[in-house]
């Protein structure tokens, strides 16, 4: 199964593929298309969702969703950029139960709002942590 080809033919211009090494495939998608690509990977191609990671960059908050194909030993990372301020993106947790916690964590630490998340409570920061303060955002200096 050639994952890269399948994704390319399915989504065409919506995705931009970058094969770093035989085992690592990075796909740049627009944040609006992300849920559909993630859903395709998880439900059709049966990839295992590992986790998501966010990083604060100049252009906005970059979120990577890591999927792993166990039989192919291929790590596919969906990269998307969520512009600041008041970053928000559609949640993938409604169809991907395993993403529920990590989205709550990113919301805690980076202040990204996941639209449609079934349970958007605080996960890892203390309850008395000040609202609107996100420890992983870089100061604008």
């Amino acid at each position: 199964m050639d994952v890269a080809k399948k994704i390319q033919s399915k989504f065409g211009k919506k995705v931009e593929l970058a094969q770093r090494s035989p085992k690592r495939l990075y796909i740049l998608v627009d944040k609006g298309d992300l849920p559909s690509v993630a859903r395709y990977l998880f439900e059709e191609l049966q990839a295992r969702f590992c986790t998501a990671s966010a990083v604060d960059t100049r252009g906005g908050i970059e979120i990577l969703y890591h999927f792993f194909f166990d039989e192919l030993s291929l790590m596919v990372s969906l990269r998307t950029l969520v512009p600041k301020p008041s970053p928000q993106i559609e949640s993938i947790a409604p169809f991907l139960k395993g993403a529920e916690w990590i989205e709550r964590e990113i919301a805690d630490l980076f202040g990204v709002r996941f639209v449609g998340h079934p349970d958007p409570r605080r996960l890892i920061l203390p309850d008395d942590w000040p609202e609107g303060e996100y420890p992983y955002l870089r100061r604008a200096d």
Binding site: R48, C50, T51, S53, H66, F68, S77, K97, G98, E100
Partner: protein, 396 residues
Amino acid sequence: MRTTIPIGPYHPLLEEPEFFKLVVEGETVVDMDVRIGWNHRGIEKIAEGKTYDQVIFLVERICGICSTSHPIANVLAQEDLAGAEVPERAQYIRSIVAELERLHSHLLWLGLAGHFIGYNTIFMWVWKYREPILDLFELITGNRNDYAMLRPGGVHRDIYKRDLPAIRKVMDELEPANEMLTKAILDDPVMGARLKGVGVLSKEDAIRYCVLGPTARASGVDIDVRRDEPYAAYDKVEWKVIVQEGGDVLAKAVVRLLENFESIKIIRQCVDRLEELPEGDIWSPIPQMPVGEGIGHEEAPRGECLHYIRSDGGNYPLRVKVRAPTYNNLPSFEASCIGETISDVALITAGIDPCYCCTERMAAVYDSSDKRLYDWQDLVRLSQEKTEKIRKELGR
């Protein structure tokens, strides 16, 4: 009548202190909620202020039991980022340390599981057999935990020829002990009655919750990073992935017990190879971290452990993301606990092996509708009483 039972935030089975809220009707659990974060230390943020070498020491202290898993995942991410090669001898040493860790971690789990069903004999026995492994760690790495063996591009310390017989000896002693434990658990009818069918996590749920490691393999999901993306020396030795179909606590125990045999097998082969390879060639330095990103993942005793590193070409990483296996396994309680009786909750919680951290401490919260209070010790007592009941029924 519905009763809410708080467990935690400090209780003995969880890697981090966590807060569970169980809602029970009579004896049956109908709903539950988990709140984590009591142990949140901001490690990923601290890592941004450490050099690449120092990050290894930091991630080693994420979890004391997986204190080789996180460094391995981290150096794999760094090597993925830099495209570095690792000397063959270092690969074998990594495998030996990782498998020794798996052995001690699985034994630790087995002991605690024994304690929770009221078989304290198993607890004491198993921990007795675990002790030689820690002594072995002290011999080859210099510390009982937190081994500081890993470094990007290799390992810090060689395992010398003079220490190899000691490793072999411990393995030779551990194998019959593990065999005895396996038999003691699998052939005991009380154990069977107590563990079978408890806390079943179906294959569909396992995939839906993206669970990892022994929790997934006990539910028939055939994943193991050691085989699927070989790192260290796992593609150079003979071993097999243990998969069970049951999904209950018994299946999880079987997976761990049988994995111990595989670990012993792997260590023996690695030791044999170390004998042949020349000493000293254990590190190839990475001169400079390029700009870019890397992902490293490896099979910790509890499942896949994943690290993501972003670099801007400087001395410090821009971002280190850590995903520990329990993070994915924990939400699956929702699927495996609901519908079970409250006397099984302690056991099911133990089933996924959230690493042991905090000894008993309960939040004293009164529910307005019912003044009955349980604490973790009560749950353990309930569990132990149930075992006792089964034992009497079976006439043993």
